[in-house]
């Protein structure tokens, strides 16, 4: 236990196992499609040729990993970065509404949590409705939001950001409320004995105690806000962004393009989560959190 073991080795092994399984699955799932294609073409082929075919289809049921990598390479490095065909361009479009939405959502989430913890009226009346708000299927109202906002002249980044804010404030509120209420009775009693004001209790006790919860919420929220931005890109007419790539890929049955966009989104999300995690680590160090 004294030795600190890294994660690179295990991750590598697990990735290799997944890749192997993936290839097997790709062969298995694409087999029928390839044999169908050959028989439609009226040609006879050996098993070996079919095998190779499963890993090299234009519209596979499950693209092989190397096909996705090739597509990513092609759309990221193979095309000028300013071009609309470059995936980075779309990633940037999505990222900008993600960040705006995340910012709005985090602000809303934290403010709501603070209000809920401090204003008794809101704790009782707001919480059930906040929960219900999350049971509304967002994709169903996304077009309505886009249209309604569009009708009052708000277009572009903002409607998408609103959708991602709507999705991502929830985990932040929930975990922040938990965190703000997390100090033990005795820690709160101490503040009572000082007859500390609500603001002092907030800044000196509740907030520091809630930070670890807040970061847990932020990590979930940043990934969700990306999902929100992507959802928001679907009904805007698939103009630009990773969501547009997904949709266009789906519309034209370009499985490889869908997967490439999916991976792009996941990579983007991982980067965002990693950024939040490193901020968390810095904060933890400053707060003297006991290392695990």
């Amino acid at each position: 236990m004294l030795r600190r073991e890294g994660t690179t080795g295990p991750v590598l092994v697990v990735v290799l196992v997944i890749l192997a399984l993936w290839y097997v699955a790709a062969i298995f799932m694409n087999w029928q499609g390839v044999t169908d294609a050959f028989s439609r073409a009226g040609e006879q082929h050996t098993t070996g040729e079919i095998l190779l075919g499963t890993l090299d289809q234009e519209r596979p049921v499950l693209p092989a990993p190397h096909q996705i990598v090739a597509e990513l390479k092609k759309t990221v490095f193979g095309i000028a970065i300013t071009s609309r065909r470059n995936l980075l361009f779309h990633a940037w479009v999505t990222l900008s509404s993600t960040l705006l939405g995340f910012g709005l959502g985090a602000l809303l989430g934290i403010v709501l949590a603070v209000l809920i913890v401090h204003v008794k009226t809101l704790e009782r009346s707001l919480m059930p409705w906040i929960i219900s708000s999350q049971t509304i299927p967002i994709l169903a109202i996304a077009p309505i939001i886009i249209v309604v906002l569009g009708s009052i002249g708000i277009t572009g980044l903002f409607p998408k950001a609103i959708i991602s804010a709507y999705l991502c404030f929830f985990p932040i509120t929930i975990s922040m409320v938990k965190g703000l209420n997390s100090p033990d009775l005795i820690q709160r009693d101490l503040m009572r004995t000082y007859s500390a004001s609500g603001a002092q209790i907030f800044w000196k006790l509740r907030l520091p105690a809630s930070l670890s919860y807040l970061f847990a919420g932020l990590k979930v929220a940043v990934a969700i806000s990306l999902v929100g931005a992507i959802v928001g890109e679907l009904p805007t007419g698939a103009q630009a962004g990773l969501g547009a790539r997904l949709l266009a890929g789906s519309y034209y049955g370009q499985t490889i393009q869908i997967w490439a966009a999916l991976f792009g989104a996941a990579i983007l999300a991982s980067i965002l989560v990693a950024i939040v995690s490193s901020v968390e680590r810095i904060v933890n160090r400053r707060m003297g959190v006991r290392p695990a």
Binding site: D184, I186, R192, T193, Y194, K204, L211
Partner: protein
């Protein structure tokens, strides 16, 4: 050694408190009467679970009594709390884990709006008193249990309250440190004329420190005996513990405790 003429610091009449637990009520305090004058040092002693902590918490307005009357410095406990009339040392250290020891001790001062330089100075004085010099920048989990408890005492002393409520503050300390802190506390009390309410399990400690000792019965906590120890004078040294007066009072406390107790096998 003037007899206090001022109104009582704590005046309790017919106080009782019942906790409502899921499986029925727990009678923690029942019909407690008590008057504490300014400048007294009162020890509470009684079997575990008898309601000592509860009584201190009621005085500090951390628990609402279910019956009876209580005044602190002539006003209700809530008002007294809002006036910051007292400092409380809890049974557990209750340090904030994200603050260094120094910062923990400065906490009440920060809340009272004391300037940074003054905070630093006061904290450093208290750190010295409880012998935690050199641990200013450690976080609580890096300290032993006893060290944490000492930090929490320093925290309560830092803002120099007139009334000190201490719930077994020295429970986790070794005898030498305990003796040392007993002496320090006594000096402080004598010098500043603070009123101290002190919960302890140690009979010698109670006798050594107190001007009055309150002996409580097992649950529901009632007061069995109030023993005046002012005969020992205010200016005590550790060796009075061998004097016959001391031993006599200690004996009376022990008898009171034993009387209320259920074990006498």
């Amino acid at each position: 050694m003037k007899e206090p003429a001022s109104p009582p610091v704590v005046a309790i009449k017919g106080l009782s408190l019942t906790y409502e637990a899921a499986d029925g009520p727990v009678y923690a305090l029942s019909n407690v009467d008590l008057q504490i004058a300014e400048g007294e040092f009162i020890s509470f002693i009684g079997p575990s679970g008898c309601g000592k902590t509860t009584l201190l918490r009621v005085i500090a307005d951390l628990e609402q009594p279910t019956g009876g009357d209580i005044h602190v410095n002539g006003v209700g406990p809530e008002e007294a709390r809002l006036r910051r009339d007292y400092g409380f040392v809890f049974q557990a250290p209750a340090l904030y884990p994200w603050r260094t020891i120094q910062k923990n001790i400065e906490l009440p001062l920060e809340i009272f709006g004391v300037s940074k330089a003054e905070r630093r100075e006061k904290a450093s004085k208290q750190l010295e008193l409880v012998n935690l010099k050199g641990f200013e920048n450690k976080f609580p989990w890096q300290l032993s249990g006893g060290m944490q408890q000492r930090a929490s005492i320093a925290r309560a002393l830092s803002f120099d309250p007139k009334l000190l409520l201490m719930d077994e503050p020295f429970g986790a300390l070794d005898e030498i440190v305990r003796d040392h802190l007993n002496e320090q506390l006594l000096k402080l009390w004598d010098k500043t004329g603070k009123t101290v309410l002190f919960v302890t399990h140690s009979i010698p400690e109670a006798v050594f420190l107190s001007s009055k000792i309150v002996v409580m019965s097992p649950r529901p906590g009632r007061i069995i005996d109030i023993i005046d120890a002012s005969v020992l004078g205010r200016d005590r040294t550790l060796d009075i513990r061998e004097t016959p007066e001391f031993l006599k009072i200690a004996h009376r406390v022990r008898e009171g405790l034993r009387a209320g107790h259920s074990y006498d096998d």
